[in-house]
């Protein structure tokens, strides 16, 4: 696998700065400890009670194979993080889990994803039903241009619920740690909320349809540190009831919140085409303390990306 890559990482190890001679001092940077969330009782992959079992997943956009041969398992009520440099296919894989990629013309998944024991791409499977079970939160908060109330009520409504749903709205907002902040302006337009509030609203919206899994694609990258902390706290809280898969570009975030981490990167094949690959998938603590792949180590130590 390493052959197809530029030898850079290797040469870097030999000579960390591959620079024209000019006096550069090697200065040790002491990075304070980072909290890593470990599973309460570490479970082996086999004992995971898997929600998703991915095997040999490749994703194509038209003829372009954006992601190649991914195998991974998402455990029930765990937080799984997907990290890696830009363009390595994190979002692409994530969007396979609720078949959002179906909506992109020309996008196509090969391989298998089992959801519990059902083939997610089976013939009888209705993607709309899939998305109802497997909620999603996006990078940029995307509240509907409606009231806060209607944003939350939207999911239940399109799923056939009629009438008032004050209880559902309150419950979802409470779970999303937003109720106290908005309970007095529930009829106000959701676009008037701050970015962090909007993102929690989107999480509340996802919760309101009572999903099984929540997928999050860089949910904090458009937020400030305070809002980020709130969302991270919320994720921890939610992981008691929900299975969560999160894509993040912030390694520290992955380290802080996740039980298990998947590290992706892009490899260039013989024809010079880049494909996203899963490099390493393990317990978060292992990935950050003792990665088994050189590239993982390079990435989490900031050598690239």
């Amino acid at each position: 696998m390493n052959d197809s890559r530029n030898p850079m990482p290797a040469s870097r190890t030999a000579d960390p700065r591959n620079l024209p001679a000019s006096g550069h001092a090697q200065i040790g940077v002491s990075v304070p400890n980072v909290t890593v969330r470990g599973p309460e009782v570490p479970r082996t992959i086999e004992a995971l009670d898997p929600v998703f079992t991915v095997s040999g997943l490749s994703v194509f956009y038209g003829d372009y194979e954006a992601v190649r041969g991914v195998d991974m398992t998402i455990g029930n009520r765990e937080i799984t993080a997907m990290i890696g440099p830009s363009g390595c296919g994190k979002s692409t894989v994530l969007r396979c889990f609720n078949r959002m990629n179906d909506l992109i013309p020309g996008a196509r998944a090969a391989g298998k994803i089992l959801y519990h024991d059902e083939d997610l791409y089976g013939d009888h499977v209705d993607p709309i039903e899939v998305r109802r079970r497997i909620g999603m939160v996006f990078q940029k908060p995307n509240p509907f241009p409606k009231s806060i109330y209607d944003n939350i009520a939207y999911g239940p409504r399109v799923n056939g619920m009629k009438g008032k749903m004050d209880d559902i709205v309150e419950e979802a907002l409470t779970k999303a740690a937003l109720w106290d902040e908005v309970k007095d302006k529930i009829k106000q337009n959701a676009l008037s909320l701050s970015g962090g509030q909007q993102q929690r609203l989107c999480i509340a919206r996802a919760i309101a349809v009572k999903p099984d899994v929540i997928l999050m694609d860089e949910p904090c990258s458009a937020l400030d540190p305070i809002a980020t902390t709130k969302i991270e706290d919320l994720m921890q809280e939610l992981s008691r009831d929900y299975t969560i898969v999160i894509v993040t570009h912030n390694m520290q975030q992955a380290a802080r919140v996740s039980d298990r981490t998947a590290f992706f990167t892009a490899e260039v094949d013989a024809e010079g085409v880049r494909h996203g690959r899963l490099v390493e998938f393990d317990e978060t603590s292992r990935i950050f303390t003792n990665p088994s792949d050189k590239r993982t180590e390079d990435y989490i130590t900031g050598r690239f990306g």
Binding site: N98, M100, L103, P105, G106, I128, E129, R131, R132, R133, G135, M136, F138, K140, N142, P143, F144, P145, Y154, G155, V158, N159, L191, C202, R205, A206, V209
Partner: protein
């Protein structure tokens, strides 16, 4: 090359005499814009001045008359135009908006038939209106035997403005950010639920603006009616879709072709009315656009 090797310190950042050329260019651009606008202003001043003597209530209270050009009015034309516009709105707008939804939300652009539809629409937008007249005459009036009625006129004009409605509605729909669609679909909404509850409400102001502008094009059309041979001397207002009719632009055309000076004045006065209707519609469109323009 000398200018490129200035010393790095003790610099001088003053300008090097570019402003004049820059200025002239800017003035030329502004002048171009001004020419178009001055022209529009001249046109308006001219028709108002010409039509001034006849800009009174007799203009819309009276019917056209050969015998008394000095008191002839354009009531039948105003009503005919309103009928045509109303029917066109009823036929072209729903069709156009539905087609736009199909093309933006459903059509798989990789399929040949969808590309064909798109190419076809952009082509139709460029087809001369007189050719639509041929279509109306050959297919609607003669083959479908609808005759020379309000219905024939409205159907012809509907087909004529359809591409414009589709194009502008597509733009409005496209302006709704994909994140709204994704948000809805990710909640398990079906595609139509997403469109009906999110995309359409968000794009209605844009669609309305485009539709009004398309209809204002329809109001000014004369060539297709010329082909349809609509009567010019119509002294009654249409009573239904199978009624005979005339429209303002056609009446204006027929006034221009009359020998008496009074008809030239009448034509100018009728033009003022036509332009007033158009200005009104444009204003509504602009107001809508400014009022509801969404920024996500």
């Amino acid at each position: 090359m000398a200018i490129l090797s200035t010393p790095k310190s003790a610099v001088q950042l003053a300008s090097r005499g570019r402003p004049l050329k820059e200025h002239l260019f800017r003035v030329a651009l502004l002048a171009s814009l001004a020419i178009a606008l001055i022209f529009l202003a001249m046109l308006i001043v001219y028709v108002v001045e010409e039509g001034w003597p006849r800009l009174d209530s007799t203009l819309w209270e009276n019917q056209p008359s050969i015998r008394r050009p000095e008191t002839a009015g354009i009531q039948s034309g105003i009503f005919g135009t309103l009928w045509i516009i109303g029917l066109t709105a009823l036929m072209a707008l729903p069709t156009g908006i539905l087609a736009a939804i199909y093309l933006e939300e459903y059509a798989d652009k990789t399929k040949w038939y969808n590309r064909l539809i798109e190419l076809n629409i952009s082509n139709l937008a460029a087809v001369p209106s007189i050719v639509y007249g041929i279509l109306g005459l050959g297919i609607i009036a003669r083959w479908m035997q609808f005759g020379f009625t309000v219905m024939t006129g409205a159907m012809t004009i509907s087909l004529l403005v359809l591409p414009i409605v589709i194009i502008s509605a597509r733009e409005a729909i496209r302006a709704v950010p994909p994140s709204i669609r994704e948000g809805s679909l990710a909640l398990g909404a079906t595609q139509w639920q997403t469109i009906y509850r999110q995309v359409l409400p968000a794009s209605i102001p844009g669609i309305a603006t485009g539709s009004i502008l398309a209809l204002s094009r329809a109001i000014g059309e004369a060539a297709p009616f010329l082909m349809l041979g609509a009567a010019t001397l119509v002294r009654f207002n249409p009573e239904g879709v199978w009624s005979n009719f005339s429209v303002l632009p056609l009446q204006i055309y027929s006034f221009i072709t009359r020998p008496q000076e009074e008809f030239a004045v009448l034509a100018a006065a009728a033009i003022v009315i036509l332009l007033a209707i158009l200005l009104l519609m444009n204003s509504v469109a602009i107001w809508l656009r400014n009022r509801y323009q969404k920024r996500w």
